[in-house]
């Protein structure tokens, strides 16, 4: 009994052994792409933070927690960049941040999918991301990609809901350069 307790005590930290990483902001990006009048455009968020714990062999203890400052959006077009933070889209005055936190990870064939909850524009909905995690000396790179249906989150409603002008499926991608803590 005593021996078992010791074994358990030793095993517990192992079971919770997903490594914590810190994001190297200079070489990491969080962005998206969508279409406007049939032409695709890319956007980026300048300010965001991510707490990443990940172990490919221990997905149950892995976790992503990402917070995005929506006012930091840039898409290379002045009109668009002034419209996006406004009340018709992100409405940063009321909802300054978007938050994504994982609820679990799934291994599907060779792929890992992160299921989570995205809170954007005051609305929380499930969003799934494809995860590509590549360990490197002293850290790793993490690439995620997923689709956010903007209308599910009430981003660009009313006149702007017309998806033949502004695409409805926003592709979100992030590339994170991670250093082990």
């Amino acid at each position: 009994m005593k021996r078992l307790a010791i074994l358990l005590a030793l095993a517990l930290p192992l079971a919770a052994a997903a490594t914590d990483y810190t994001v190297q902001p200079a070489s990491s990006t969080l962005g998206f792409s969508n279409t406007f009048q049939g032409e695709s455009f890319d956007g980026k968020f300048g300010r965001w933070t991510a707490a990443i714990s990940y172990d490919a062999a221990n997905l149950a203890s892995s976790k992503f927690d990402v917070e995005v400052d929506l006012a930091s959006v840039k898409t290379g077009d002045g009109d668009r960049d002034s419209a996006l933070p406004g009340s018709d889209f992100f409405d940063v005055a009321k909802f300054p941040k978007a938050h994504f936190v994982t609820t679990g990870f799934r291994q599907v064939g060779a792929k890992v999918i992160a299921d989570g909850t995205l809170t954007l524009h005051g609305i929380s909905k499930p969003v799934s991301l494809d995860v590509t995690f590549t360990p490197q000396a002293g850290g790793a790179t993490l690439d995620v990609a997923g689709t956010v249906k903007r209308l599910d989150f009430g981003v660009g409603t009313g006149d702007y809901a017309d998806t033949s002008v502004i695409g409805g499926d926003v592709k979100v991608t992030a590339h994170l350069q991670l250093a082990a803590k």
């Binding site: 009048q37 049939g38 032409e39 419209a83 009313g158 006149d159 017309d162 002008v165």
Partner: protein, 189 residues
Amino acid sequence: MSLRSNERQWGSVAKFFHWTIALAILGNGTFGLLMDLAHSPMQKINWLALHKSIGLTVLALVLLRVLWRWRDGRPREEAAPRWQQWSARIVHALLYLLIVAIPLSGWWFNSVTGKPLQWFKQFNLPALAAKNDELRHFAHGVHEYLFWFLILLLVAHVGAALKHHVFDHDNVLRRMLPFGRPTSRGDRS
């Protein structure tokens, strides 16, 4: 009425091009000047998209028209003083130039503004120039003032056509009217 023009009158294809382009460019020009009446940014986006689509259509029609005119020829010129014949030729040449230049300058304006160019939500066309914020205002001016120049020439064009019709009683206007026919009374030469 034949498709092709003959010695006495314009053919129905030439008439179609003349009147369709005239209506489209005047309508679209007026529409363009009223853009700021849009009551929401999205309405303006949609109005501009429509304005651009119509403009591209005009440009395509003008190119077809020039090709057709080149293959088709024209009715003989009415006898008139030399200065009148030359001013008519110059005004016609400038009108042709403008109906090409106005849509093209709009395309250029759209390009330096860095906006997409889509034809009735069907397909996209490439930019004619790189995005350039400094040229934006100038390009808009070029696009708009070319239209005002067209209006100026149009006054001369319409004025001359009416002068021929009302005072000279010749076929100059009648041979271009959609269902008009030249009359022997109007034959001067």
